[in-house]
């Protein structure tokens, strides 16, 4: 390309005196909606205003080809050792061999488990595994079947604990149903455990429609954990792939809080306003299936054990707070299983178990109480957070919401 003398480049940046065109005109220019004198006026300004050129350039719509590749893939092939083409293809070939061998092993194991499940049940059933089985009404059978469908989604995945529960359900239920196939990978264990908890929590309101929605919520690898859930992260946080999957969060048009376990393909409503009876029922269920819980927790969520004390404290806090009947979400901030959700009239809720149980938190300090709608929640780390309200109040916490300070 022809070069320009530096003096010419310098003279090109002579400033312009008139005011910037408004955002509407710049948008219309970028979208080719301006004509005649109006367009000329904007072009004259753009010819001399670097800031507006920058704005127009930044505001251009994204192109399909410029969409970023997930970092996991990108980084993997960027390892120095894999940069050479020979190494690159060797790595691909090794990966294929590994996948094929795992597939063969899983197939063998599957065949083994099918044989075992077709044989007479050798293991004693575990008592009262899920509330749906506790029911003796005729609709228990379809519910159980739907629950199995939900559990046996693409990873064909039921955890060991779930497998036991479903087997026991089959034992108690007169309707014959094939036992689900089992593939035991850490991801499927963790996914299906959370999904199982979701089913347990929602079982009181379980209906065919709900079961269908659960059925659609096929587990998949999480694609990220944005702190403000509505911002769908275009990047993949590699740390999330190692631990339990964190659901994604968003707010529906009606102000309902929703979460997704499949990277945003399907969303389920989450009721943050805790129902005491539901809580009791959940705790009862957890107590009646200690073995299943122990299995699932030990294999899938070792990190959750470390947070045991935190969850215990959380439940205590939950029991003493009075909660309103309606919650309309306006903001949400999530970090793995810990989520803060803010709404109208100062409603602030907190969960440390990916939204299965919630506690209302009322930020207050020396006689001051948070007022207004909670519009922004930001946590720079699990302990330090900031809340901004519609009344321009800013509240901060240095200790994960235990204490709050109102900023002046």
């Amino acid at each position: 390309m022809e070069s320009l003398p530096k003096l010419v480049v310098k003279r090109l940046q002579s400033p312009i005196a008139d005011s910037h065109p408004d955002a509407d005109l710049l948008t219309a220019f970028a979208e080719q909606s301006l004509a005649g004198a109006e367009r000329d006026h904007v072009v004259v300004h753009l010819a001399r205003c670097g800031d507006c050129r920058e704005v127009v350039s930044l505001a251009l719509p994204a192109q399909i080809e410029s969409q970023p590749v997930p970092h996991t893939i990108e980084n993997w092939f960027r390892w120095p050792l894999l940069r050479g083409s020979a190494w690159h293809w060797t790595a691909v070939a090794a990966g294929l061999v590994l996948i094929a061998s795992i597939g063969v092993m899983q197939l063998r194991r599957q065949q083994g488990s099918e044989v075992a499940s077709n044989a007479p049940q050798a293991q004693p059933p575990i008592a009262a595994p899920t509330p749906s089985v506790e029911r003796s009404s005729p609709d228990a059978a379809p519910q159980t079947r739907m629950q199995k469908d939900a559990l046996a989604t693409p990873h064909v995945g039921a955890s060991i604990g779930e497998n036991k529960r479903v087997r026991s359900a089959a034992a108690q239920n007169p309707t014959p149903a094939p036992a689900p196939q089992t593939i035991e990978s850490p991801e499927t264990l963790a996914q299906s455990q959370i999904q199982d908890q979701l089913i347990q929590n929602k079982v009181a309101e379980q209906s065919p429609a709900y079961a269908n929605r659960v059925d659609k919520a096929k587990p998949a690898l999480p694609q990220g954990s944005p702190a403000m859930a509505p911002a769908p992260s275009l990047r993949t946080d590699p740390s999330l792939l190692k631990g339990p999957p964190a659901p994604r969060w968003t707010i529906s048009a009606g102000g309902g809080l929703q979460r997704s376990f499949d990277g945003g393909k399907t969303w389920l409503d989450v009721n943050v306003v805790a129902d005491d009876s539901a809580l009791d029922r959940r705790e009862k269920t957890q107590m009646t299936t200690p073995e299943a819980q122990a299995d699932a927790t030990a294999e899938a969520r070792p990190a959750a054990q470390a947070e045991g004390k935190k969850q215990a404290d959380f439940k205590t806090k939950q029991s003493v707070l009075v909660v309103p009947a309606i919650f309309r979400a306006l903001s949400v901030s999530s970090n793995a299983a810990e989520v803060w959700a803010g709404g109208s009239s100062g409603a602030l809720y907190h969960t440390v178990d990916a939204g299965n149980s919630w506690a209302r938190v009322l930020p207050s300090a020396v006689g001051l109480v948070l007022t207004g709608d909670i519009l922004i929640i930001q946590f720079s780390d699990p302990r330090n957070g900031t809340i901004t309200t519609s009344t321009s109040e800013i509240w901060t916490t240095p200790d994960d919401g235990q204490t709050w300070q109102k900023q002046q």
Partner: protein
Amino acid sequence: MRSTKPISASVHLAVSDLLADLHAKGGCEKIGLTHESFAVILCEVATKYLPAGTTRADARTFLLTLRIDELALAQACAAGDNSAWELFLTRYREKLYQSALRVAREDSAARDLADSLYAELYGTTTRNGERISKLASFTGRGSLEGWLRTVLAQEFVNRYRRTKREVSLDEEGEEGAQFAAPQPEPLPSADSRLESATDAALAALDPEDRMVLAAYYLDGRTLAEVARMLRVHESTISRKVDKLAKSLRKRILAGMMQHGMSRRQAEEALEMDVRDLQVDIRRSLAQDSPARAFSDKEVRVRTREGSG
């Protein structure tokens, strides 16, 4: 958006001609905009952009080019209608965050940018107990999605300017305190004939051509980026930039020769400039455009009732 100009009779007539159709097209009924309130909005938009003495036919044509449904939605949100706000969130909330990520190119900065705009759209600023929503300034000249991207980009550029100024001041302070900054060598004064020839050549440029040159040579944009700004093919811009640079050089040389320089002298002056002219880039960038921030002072003040 509120215009200070008086609303002309032709605008009034054009609005009354089209009001029923536009009200229906904008789905105003569902989002709480009455015929009267929508008529006021249309009159204000038309008055803001149409020159004095516009005919009724021109005003009608103008109104028909507006993004009516998006204008109605934005104004209903600004007026505090809950169903409009819910519709807005459904359509644009996710796009807002995606656009912020594209503008800021970094996750936390993008979240920060989107959150601050979201708060402005919702209307956190209060004046006499009334909320001011930035959506009130949307006039439907372009798409609402494009407008959201533009205001995000404006806010990003504003922040960048602030940061740059602060850093620049800090650096100056440090330099002043710690080092006895050597006096900068005086810039070789470009021949006045070169300067005047350059200015004349640039002044003769078509504004769009000047914009293309500035975007490519001054802003450092790629040919593809400049092409996307003007919605033309990259090869078109490539040819155009090359042609413009060559013709500009020719015009400058011709200008210097008209002022009595020989061709060789003129070429040497240009070459010398390319090789040796020291341009203090930092100072140049700091002065590259007026230090005004993008702002939206003409926002309509609306009360949001029953905010939820």
